[in-house]
Amino acid sequence: MTTTTIAGHAVDVNEEGFLTRPEEWTEDLAPELARLIGLELTDAHWALIRFLREDHAAQGETATLRRVSTRTGTPVKTLFTLFPGKPAKKMAYVAGLPKPKGCV
């Protein structure tokens, strides 16, 4: 675990660059985190990021791709368009959350 500076904030990240302390995340970090993985945030991205933050605060864990899709009414295909390749991981990354526990 290392400390790095993103958008002027000192944050703790793990070896994959995910924030390890969700409480260190603020909305002004998101565009910079997105830029680091080649994304530019639109309103559609923001709606999902805010859902992820709220859901994590309520549930204590990061929503899976299916949960995001079901709860926000966003087709999985759209999630792949907005966050290409690995949407579950990319959404969590931008939202400053641990990657979802794929399962067990």
């Binding site: 299916r66 949960r67 999985v76 526990k101 399962c103 067990v104």
Partner: protein, 414 residues
């Protein structure tokens, strides 16, 4: 104080449900508690046996029994389709209008493969070129299908996690490799393992060890593949990000979901699993509803071993709970999975909520006879022998002498 007989209703007479009613019948006086268990039919399958049917290692009659003889005297076994649980009225509604009032309810209705949830799966080639081994019929159909297989691309595919027995697709792949070699078809077959995960398995140490075995066996792994649909005409799997994987014979593991009545009752999450306290199995927001076995959302494997260990903890807690006391036993997520690796060998994984599968020996530290996360003949024999233990000791609720709580002795920390 006047007393009336209270009702315990258990939905599902599979591994968890059967053990629960048998164990509780012995512990709850018949004057105080009536016990009813509901299931849709009188068939009980030893599900771990499905894996062996396509390769002729288990015969169909070894994995299927009549359910009712496993339900002990003094327990009312009701056949019917559960429509809904009315948690406000504390009643279970069955199709046809019958109502079962409950004082305590246990949901043990498991998880089911749902091929209908992925477009193109239930086409004309379902149970033919698009096979599966998570049902009795599917395992039998796949046996016939493999019998006709003469080489090409054999693709083993996981749709989405969680699935029942998450190691089974890997075991299928290992056994297929062995089977193809024995038939002289291995060189004419490309064996491909397709997963939505970024590696062979969900837990890092095990993923590395199992990944090594896949590599040794020349299996090509396609990670991070989220299937959108199956195109049976073109014989390809298509992902959401528009990658395609061609197959000649596909062995898919469909999306797994909890029972539909769970959703209809407002008791489920997005996959119809009942959110529960992971240490006590009490459903979130309820004082008289529990969920055990594959039906709950606890973050450990959906597996018979977990059902077994959790029932041990649940029974003690339940007795405290209905006596109006605090539940003092806590489930640690203990799971114990044999992984067939082919050539008469198997690995054994032992893990819980906090500790991932480690190397070492089980159940006796440093002695075994079974090795953890390493291939051995003893593990394979242990796995095959477990079918007898299941029918003769586990379902009747006899003690097996395996601790419910995971122990760290004899294990090598990662």
């Amino acid at each position: 104080m006047t007393s009336r007989t209270r009702n315990l209703v258990v939905l599902g007479a599979g591994t968890a449900g059967t053990m629960i009613v048998n164990k509780l019948r012995r512990r709850l006086p018949a004057d105080d508690w009536a016990i009813t268990v509901v299931d849709r039919d009188d068939v009980h399958d030893y599900q771990p046996g499905y894996l062996f049917i396509p390769f002729g290692i288990n015969e169909p009659d070894q994995v299927r029994r009549t359910k009712s003889p496993f339900i002990h005297a003094g327990i009312d076994l009701v056949f019917g389709e559960v429509e809904r649980v009315d948690t406000a009225e504390h009643e279970v509604l069955l199709a046809g209008g019958r109502r079962l009032p409950y004082d305590q309810l246990v949901i043990a209705s498991g998880t089911t493969p749902r091929p209908d949830q992925t477009e193109g799966t239930l086409g004309p080639q379902w149970h033919r070129e698009v096979g599966e081994f998570y049902t009795y019929d599917g395992a039998l159909a796949l046996r016939d299908q493999l019998d006709r297989f003469t080489g090409g691309r054999l693709v083993v595919h996981i749709t989405e996690l969680p699935i029942k027995c998450p190691v089974a697709p890997l075991e299928f792949t290992f056994l297929a490799d062995d089977w193809l070699r024995r038939r002289g078809l291995r060189e004419r077959t490309e064996l491909v393992f397709v997963t939505p995960l970024d590696g062979a398995f969900t837990k890092p140490v095990a993923s590395r060890e199992l990944g090594k075995i896949l590599e040794e066996k020349g299996v090509h792994v396609e990670p991070d593949f989220m299937v959108e649909r199956i195109d049976q005409d073109r014989k390809v799997l298509v992902s959401y990000d528009e990658r395609e994987i061609a197959y000649d014979q596909l062995v898919t593991v469909p999306l797994n979901m909890g029972a539909d009545f769970v959703a209809a009752s407002g008791l489920g999450d997005e996959l119809n699993y009942v959110p529960v306290d992971k240490h006590t199995f009490l459903a979130t927001g309820h004082d008289d509803v529990f969920a055990l076995g594959d039906a709950s959302n606890i973050p450990t494997s959906k597996a018979g071993s977990v059902a077994h260990f959790s029932v041990e903890v649940f029974v003690e807690n339940f007795l405290e709970h209905v006596a109006g006391r605090a539940m003092t036993h806590s489930f640690d997520g203990h799971a114990n999975c044999f992984v067939e690796s082919g050539h008469g060998k198997a690995l054994l994984l032992d893990f819980n909520y906090d500790t991932e599968p480690l190397t070492g020996h089980f159940p006796i530290p440093k002695v075994g006879p079974m090795t953890l996360l390493g291939e051995s003949r003893a593990n394979h024999l242990g796995k095959l022998a477990f079918r007898h233990v299941y029918w003769n000791a586990l379902l009747p609720g006899r003690p097996l002498g395996l601790p419910a709580e995971m122990s760290m002795s004899g294990k090598n920390p990662a």
